[in-house]
């Protein structure tokens, strides 16, 4: 009796051991390919690697202080926030009705519509951006069509403006808003809505009092999934933006690749990461753990 008990315990313990062993490869992978490079970026930002690429144990804040003293950098940062903010709001305004419609109004073909919505995003993001460029261009078929139909007098110039950057960002990130919203709305208990109607609430009131509050986790998830990549975007402003569309991503790129001053580039990256992390932490605090389960 006593013997078989200990054996069982042993196996049980062994299973836990085996399961935790399974965690080692992904952790190792992250440690080598993410945490270690991240640590090196940290070393650069604190001036702990010299120009011969040797580690020196004299941490200093000079690069941070220098970066923080640039008013231009602050302006570029605010501009990025503005572009990402407008993008995320437009994505929400366009994405919410789509997710709502597919989730609530469609009886059949829900999956089909979601897949139809996702298919364009199987295409490389660069290709999609180039495709948009050929539409926004002054000599594009869109402009040719509109002018030849006499709907407009002269071609619309969208390329190399703020409008172009925001338009392409909305286009590229929309799916990141729709999917978490759709997943969230699908899980929403529809009997609550029936209850509201039975008790005489108007559709508007039902939406505002039940659907919207319950879909907040989806909205927040979509917000983070769109906002974080959008605020650090550098390819889109580079390709379709004009002289006023330089963003934080371009700034960091310039210091790493153009100026090849990894110390300042690292300090900029660290500050940017701290900002993003504080956003995510605030979000998790507010929403609790369920906020991450979208």
């Amino acid at each position: 009796m006593g013997f078989s008990d200990t054996l069982l315990k042993h196996i049980r313990r062994n299973v836990t051991v085996k399961v935790s062993l399974l965690l080692i490869p992904p952790l190792l992978f992250l440690a080598i390919w993410f945490y270690a490079p991240f640590f090196i970026v940290g070393l650069y930002s604190f001036d702990m690697i010299n120009i011969q690429r040797e580690i020196v144990f004299k941490p200093s804040l000079i690069h941070y202080l220098r970066v923080l003293s640039w008013t231009g950098a602050m302006k570029i940062f605010l501009r990025s926030l503005y572009f990402a903010g407008v993008t995320v709001i437009l994505c929400l305004l366009i994405g919410y009705p789509v997710a709502y419609y597919i989730s609530f109004k469609m009886k059949k073909y829900k999956d089909l519509f979601i897949i139809l919505f996702i298919i364009p995003f199987w295409v490389s993001f660069l290709l999609r951006t180039y495709a948009m460029m050929s539409i926004l261009d002054e000599r594009s078929f869109l402009n040719v069509l509109l002018t030849s139909l006499k709907l407009i007098d002269s071609p619309i110039r969208i390329m190399y403006t703020d409008t172009a950057v925001i338009l392409v960002m909305v286009y590229d990130y929309l799916v990141m808003m729709v999917l978490p919203l759709y997943a969230n709305l699908e899980k929403l208990d529809k009997t609550l809505l029936e209850a509201a109607y039975t008790l005489g609430a108007s559709p508007v009131k039902t939406f505002l009092k039940i659907t919207l509050p319950l879909s907040m986790p989806g909205i927040m998830a979509g917000f983070l999934l769109v906002f974080i990549p959008a605020v650090g975007e550098f390819v889109i402003p580079e390709l379709v933006g004009g002289p006023n569309n330089y963003m934080v991503g371009n700034l960091i790129y310039e210091f790493f690749m153009g100026a090849r001053h990894w110390w300042i580039g690292s300090a900029l990256s660290m500050l940017f990461i701290v900002f993003i992390l504080s956003l995510v932490i605030t979000y998790v605090r507010k929403m609790g753990e369920r906020g991450l389960a979208f």
């Binding site: 231009g72 261009d137 110039r157 330089y246 001053h261 110390w263 300042i264």
Partner: protein
């Protein structure tokens, strides 16, 4: 093995393909095509191809559209070497790879400003000029450059200027000076929203500093301050700060009328360029290129052998092959960048075209960039970000 005749066929068929393709220009008459074909055939007979016993693999890293690929293939076959020929589109890419010292390439082509930087980092192998007898064909002024005294680590590949490419049908009067793009009462005001400056801060600061009569490679605060104020005033009138790809497409489509550009890129628009065909007819007559009268920044690309190269012998042999005057001439006719060793062998039309070979009288007005320290680059980037934020 491919015989010399086969290579001729490949090259000549390029010319014929063009004629059949019906791309116009001044070689449209059969007699002219015939004479061009004969010229290239005669030229090709002069190539002295030496073959060596070489290790079988050679990895080359070069800018896109920057060589005659048929010649590369021919050399590889004759020498029994299999070449991996990779390309990059910005200097950042090649520097990022070479500075690791483990890029895996045996031969790369990089710009003047980074040769010294890479050499100081210790990521270049020395070049043995004794193994490159054709080095003697390089004109003296391209030997022993400021960035590599004694050609210890580099051999010139091609060179050029950064000036102004412009649409000669819609822009009048003709573009002659930096003042045209910096003064509102000249072209800048007249063609608002149709002018681009270069996306590379070295080029755009360089242009502003030359216009201001300063040293284009200055890192003095007072110079950079004045330059950035000038550029901030210019900015509202610009269509943007355009990269090669953007301004080439923009000029061709007429979206941009004046672009701060590399000469070879403009040549690439004017002539229909291809890596596998010799085309010396003009495709577009409406684009011109001007080296501004105040002067311009010059640049030079160079062969370097990266640290860790496994086939240094073959790398030297390949450099020697490209420096053959006829090979250089054919490369020039192919990509429309000047290969200095081949100048005497290219047709007169190309030799005299300022978009390809910078005219002798302008050579004195060229400024060379110089390598900057990381601190100097950061300082310039700081002023650049001020311009971008404005």
């Amino acid at each position: 093995m491919v015989s010399r005749r086969d290579v001729l066929k490949i090259m000549v068929s390029g010319v014929l393909g063009l004629a059949i393709g019906g791309v116009g220009g001044y070689f449209s008459r059969q007699s002219e095509i015939d004479s061009l074909r004969k010229e290239i055939e005669d030229l090709s007979k002069q190539i002295e191809l030496q073959t060596f016993k070489l290790e079988p693999n050679l990895n080359i890293y070069n800018w896109t559209y920057y060589i005659n690929r048929n010649l590369v293939d021919w050399w590889a076959k004759e020498n029994g070497v299999s070449i991996v020929y990779d390309t990059f589109e910005s200097l950042d890419e090649v520097v990022a790879k070479l500075q690791t010292g483990t890029s895996g390439y045996d031969l790369a082509v990089v710009s003047d400003s980074v040769v010294q930087e890479l050499a100081n980092m210790g990521v270049l192998e020395p070049i043995d000029l004794k193994k490159i007898p054709n080095f003697k064909h390089i004109p003296e002024k391209f030997k022993n450059p400021y960035y590599d005294p004694g050609n210890k680590y580099s051999v010139i590949y091609s060179y050029g200027t950064t000036g102004l490419g412009w649409n000669n049908q819609e822009v009048a009067p003709e573009v002659t000076a930096w003042a045209d793009v910096f003064e509102v009462d000249r072209h800048l005001g007249k063609y608002k929203g149709k002018i681009t400056m270069h996306t590379d801060s070295i080029e755009t600061f360089g242009a502003a500093l030359i216009y201001l009569g300063r040293d284009p490679t200055s890192t003095k605060d007072e110079d950079l301050r004045e330059a950035v104020e000038l550029l901030k005033k210019q900015k509202p009138y610009l269509a943007g700060y355009a990269s090669t790809e953007e301004y080439m497409a923009g000029l061709e489509a007429g979206r941009f009328l004046i672009s701060h550009a590399y000469n070879g890129d403009i040549a690439g628009i004017i002539y229909a360029s291809d890596e596998r065909e010799i085309i010396i007819t003009k495709k577009l007559e409406y684009i011109s290129y001007t080296v501004p009268e105040e002067g311009a920044l010059a640049w030079a690309d160079n062969f370097v052998i990266p640290k860790g190269a496994k086939n240094i012998e073959a790398a030297h042999a390949f450099i020697n092959f490209i420096l053959d005057p006829v090979v250089s001439a054919i490369c020039t006719m192919t990509v429309k960048y000047p290969f200095p060793a081949g100048k005497d062998y290219v047709p007169e039309e190309l030799r005299k075209d300022p978009v390809i070979f910078t005219p002798e009288e302008l050579l004195d007005k060229l400024y060379w960039t110089r390598p900057f320290t990381p601190e100097e680059r950061a300082k310039r980037a700081e002023y650049w970000l001020e311009l971008m934020a404005a």
